[in-house]
Symmetry: C2
Subunit: 119 residues, 2 copies
DNA sequence: AGAACCAGTTTGTAATGTAAACCTAAAAAA
DNA sequence: TTTTTTAGGTTTACATTACAAACTGGTTCT
């Protein structure tokens, strides 16, 4: 596929900044506490909560809500294999698209203009 | 800034897939025709039109609507210096954040879990 | 004249992301 | 003991967004 087309079609579930941050952070953890994740990403609790819900629905993460000593609520999050694959793929895709474009830009001297010159 | 925080705060005007594609394409051109850009990115006319409007409003591009031989309407687009700087910065920022995270991941053996372990 | 086409723009709408308000329970203060 | 504050999130409300579909104004074909 043309690199610009690929770029325009990136998976927005993963690409969205807050979720890319969450997924990337999680892919470096075995398990993460809600509040830890919040500190890491700088998101508000509300936003973190709803982004996590969206990621869980897509089965990219698993959320576990429980209580510490039957008292304090704690939410922990793990990335799924599918989630890890998705975020990995996304970073690789970004890099590969960017490389492809830079190579192309280098050899046509940056003067593409019209449809008629499209190769 | 913590890399995950930086990631979560990326400029969405530039980061959005369609617009990142448009800006990146334009930064490799001196000038581009509307229809050429459409072919390159695979966007529909409607979407391309509204994304372009948004980018123009932010002064990242300049749009010129004119007629060929006073007959056929033609819209051409150029990226501004500001736009070129923004898209350039964005790609560099993505790469640098990713590098920073990979380095960090490498030396703490991927078991970060809770706030109390945050360095 | 009418039909089809071209090059885009505008409109309508469903989904998105965010901040602010809210909830439940525990700990601290009065 | 009652009240207040804090902790750990969730839910709600709203403004913004992105997209597809419908539309516009002109042109060429028949």
């Amino acid at each position: 596929m043309l690199p610009y087309k690929e770029l325009a079609r990136l998976d927005k579930l993963v690409h969205e900044p807050a979720r890319l941050a969450i997924l990337t952070a999680l892919s470096a953890c075995t398990l993460a506490e809600f509040l830890f994740l919040q500190e890491l990403t700088g998101l508000t609790k509300g936003n973190l909560s709803s982004h996590l819900a969206k990621l869980e629905k897509a089965e990219l993460i698993v959320i576990d809500k429980h209580f510490i000593r039957k008292k304090i609520p704690q939410t922990t999050v793990r990335i799924t294999d599918e989630g890890r694959a998705a975020v990995d793929r996304h970073w690789k895709q970004l890099a590969s698209i960017h490389r492809a474009i830079q190579r192309q830009g280098a050899h046509n001297e940056n003067h593409i203009v019209s449809r008629t010159t499209l190769t």
